[in-house]
């Protein structure tokens, strides 16, 4: 046990967040581009020490430094570089030697003897990336490469020490002004504390220091290494002698019985004064390798990050408290493309933000007008005033103002529509628009149809089906709304039409209808037939809010389903109560469509199969687009009759004569 080499616990830096806040403030207001080394202060404590820590906080830069209660001050220097390159290229060996030399100088000129707290010093090499709120830093605790120290006898605790009582040590400790390093000597049978400067080389003393190490650990902190080196340099008389060190460690009840006593043999100073002294002391990184550490302070310093974290909070609480299986990542990853930036577009976009969607793209050709702001929640009166603000781009900007971490973009563009012929002069522009729209559909995961006419929904419906996207459609009547998910075109397995599910009917997600599946008319220029008041969207204000909320909730429920858009929908044939309940995902049922009325505050949740002659999503239409691409589109734009002919819905025989019409009075 004796003759064992004593190991020391190196200091660990502990940076309080306020230190970085202060450094950022100083860098911007005072230091600016200066990179001259600045004096800083840190502190350590041996009261209830949790680890062998050197802490720094905002007070580090104070010219008059007062350490917190029960802590001891440490002097240091910060080398804050202006660029990451300077930080990286700084010669680390030179720097620790430079700092070490300061220590040696203070030893030589007697400063340390006078102010023993100068025994321990530190330095920080740092680079503050203020833009990214990232702080690169590397702490060093310079210490000369000294000969090894061997233990003379076993280490004992103060409790086990016969000649010292805890009370006498405490009394001495309390009586001495400089408490970090001092000497205990016996005078007339009493142990008294003495400053190092007053030590005259008498034998049988205890070299005391406050050891910032957790009670229970047998090794001393690095302070002992510095202490021993200091004694070796200052008192040649102690060379090759056995020296006792008392490391004071205070428990939570200020009890010092666990303080330790090390008995070391102080080696002789083998080096000649001229010989160059090498220094060690760079701190290891989190990974315990030699390298700097990085503090990413964006979470507490970057307003955008603060906002983002707060935004996510509600979602996370939902997950943690109520829905542990809720997959928030899948939501954050979806890219949503919104056709239409009116009442529905604004409402849907805002709800998407609330649910944590990050990528939102809007397509709209309109300008913000005076009637818009009261209903369309992303616009202001001011936007209409200029008469130049486009909805799509304004909405995209507003979304970013609401949540800076959102990735949004607005495209000002007319959606080409069936039955709206394209003149030769426009052909080039429309082709370009079509390319953009097609590209947008390809690059997004979810397509929302939120435009204010039936015909403008045709192209996105068809493209959504062709590129196998999730398509959510919301449409409004005066006091009614329709929210639906289009049938999926992602073939997963051979799916039959309707199947029985207990008392219910089940329609596979691949067989669900699209918006156009329930009519036999190709979309045409419906505006032409409308009176003026019909052309301007007349709806009860509430319906768009309800519908946009449902649209987003439906999407979220769908995304949580393992089959996503292939999730089946269920319906029941009768109004009677049935035993079978609709299978639920983690957010409840996932209907195919929601049709609601404000006049009676009722919703119905119909599910219907695809129409095999649908003008937008049937095989024939998709195949034709696949083959002739834009040529097909232009034919459809030329005349909606083309789509009716293609799908065969215009070829129904005249069945009039087979229908029998009866009056109520009949029978």
């Amino acid at each position: 046990m004796s003759e064992e080499i004593l190991q020391f616990l190196p200091f660990k830096s502990f940076v309080n967040s306020s230190f970085w806040h202060k450094l950022a403030e100083l860098k911007i207001d005072v230091l600016k581009l200066s990179d001259t080394p600045e004096t800083v202060h840190g502190f350590y404590s041996s009261f209830q020490a949790k680890s062998h820590l050197l802490e720094v906080d905002y007070s580090a830069f104070n010219s008059e430094f007062t350490p917190p209660k029960n802590c001891f001050p440490v002097q240091g220097t910060i080398y804050n570089k202006n660029t990451i390159e300077e930080f990286k290229n700084c010669n680390k060996v030179d720097l620790v030697n430079l700092e070490g030399q300061k220590f040696i100088e203070d030893l030589k000129n007697g400063k340390v003897l006078k102010d023993p707290w100068l025994l321990f010093r530190f330095f920080i090499l740092s680079f503050a990336d203020l833009k990214c709120h990232k702080y690169y830093y590397w702490f060093g605790f310079p210490c000369p490469m000294s000969p090894t120290f061997t233990k003379n006898t076993n280490t004992i605790s103060l409790k086990e020490c016969e000649e010292l009582s805890e009370d006498s040590v405490l009394e001495a400790f309390n009586g001495i002004p400089e408490k970090s390093f001092f000497v205990l000597t016996k005078t007339e049978g009493h142990w008294i504390g003495k400053a190092l400067a007053d030590y005259n080389g008498e034998p049988d003393v205890y070299f005391c220091f406050c050891d910032p190490v957790e009670v229970g650990l047998e090794q001393p902190s690095w302070l002992l290494r510095l202490y021993a080196y200091f004694l070796m340099k200052t008192y040649p008389a102690l060379h090759s002698k056995s020296v006792k060190f008392l490391g004071l460690r205070f428990s939570s009840t200020s009890d010092i019985s666990s303080s330790l006593i090390w008995n070391l043999v102080l080696p002789g100073d083998s080096k000649s004064p001229e010989e160059e002294i090498k220094f060690v002391g760079w701190e290891t990184n989190q990974n315990c390798k030699m390298g700097p550490r990085i503090a990413s302070m964006a979470d507490s310093m970057d307003p955008a990050k603060l906002a983002e974290n707060s935004v996510n909070l509600n979602l996370k609480l939902m997950k943690w408290r109520l829905l542990p299986d809720l997959n928030l990542d899948v939501i954050a990853q979806q890219k949503c493309l919104l056709f239409g930036a009116g009442t529905l577009g604004c409402g849907v976009a805002r709800n998407l933000l609330s649910w944590g969607f990050k990528n939102i793209t809007l397509v709209d050709s309109g300008k913000v007008s005076f009637s818009n702001p009261v209903r369309q929640s992303l616009y202001k009166h001011e936007d209409a005033l200029s008469g130049k603000q486009m909805k799509a781009t304004t909405a995209a900007d507003r979304l970013k103002e609401i949540n800076p971490s959102a990735v949004t973009k607005g495209y000002v563009m007319q959606i080409p529509m069936p039955g709206h012929a394209v003149g030769d002069s426009m052909r080039e522009t429309i082709t370009k628009d079509l390319e953009t729209i097609e590209e947008l559909v390809k690059n997004h995961d979810v397509i929302f149809l939120l435009t204010d006419s039936r015909e403008s929904r045709w192209l996105p419906t068809m493209l959504g089906a062709f590129y196998k996207k999730i398509v959510i459609n919301a449409a409004l009547g005066f006091d009614s709304y329709l929210v639906m998910r289009h049938g999926s075109s992602r073939k997963e397995n051979e799916a039959s039409g309707e199947t029985d599910y207990g008392d219910l009917k089940c329609v596979n997600g691949q067989n669900l209808a699209c918006y156009f599946c329930n009519d036999v008319t190709a979309p045409g220029d419906s505006m032409k037939d409308r009176t003026l008041d019909q052309q301007c969207t007349v709806t009860r204000p509430g319906v768009s809010n309800i519908a946009s909320s449902y649209a987003v909730e439906l999407l979220v429920a769908l995304l949580q389903h393992p089959l996503r858009e292939n999730a089946p929908a269920y319906f029941q044939l009768t109004e009677k109560k049935v035993k079978t309940s609709v299978p639920e995902g983690i957010l409840g049922i996932i209907p195919h469509s929601i049709r609601g009325m404000l006049c009676n505050y009722e919703n119905i949740l119909p599910a219907a199969m695809k129409f095999n002659q649908c003008v937008a999503c049937s095989e024939k239409v998709l195949a034709e687009f696949g083959q002739t691409h834009f040529e097909f589109l232009f034919k459809a734009f030329e005349s909606s009759k083309y789509l009716e002919d293609l799908t065969g819905i215009s070829q129904y025989e005249d069945l009039e004569n087979d229908i029998i019409e009866c009056s109520d009075s009949d029978f």
């Binding site: 435009t451 009547g477 329930n518 045409g524 119909p606 599910a607 129904y652 229908i659």
Partner: protein
Amino acid sequence: MISIDSSYSYNKMKYTNRCDINSNLTHFMTSGQKKLQDKEPIKSDEACAIRVLYPTKVPVIVERYNNESDLPTLNKKKFLVPQEITMSQFLTIIKKRLEIGPTKALFLLINSRTLAPLSKTLAEIYGEHRNTDGFLYITYSSQEVFG
């Protein structure tokens, strides 16, 4: 257009056994719909009569949706429709009778709750959705289009 002599059908019905009508119905439905057998027997005399008289046609009542204001009402609302035509064809007929523009979109609801799948035939729909009174109830309503 065939007009019905209502008094005739009514009288005729009186001589008909209801059980027969229902078995007749089942027979007519064998082209794919077993569901009908589970259904309760037709309770209305009127529908029974029709079923007997026109075994290949289904009685349908088409009404405008309660709150519909945009679309006109139909002059007549009771129809006997050939069972083999599809819902899409039937919708074409209704649209023609409503005399609305070709671009006006509407949708059909069965029993005010189920969306009519246009690929299905009237027979299939009738088998699944007919009311206990023997009629198939269909409402029409404008498709929501605003945004």
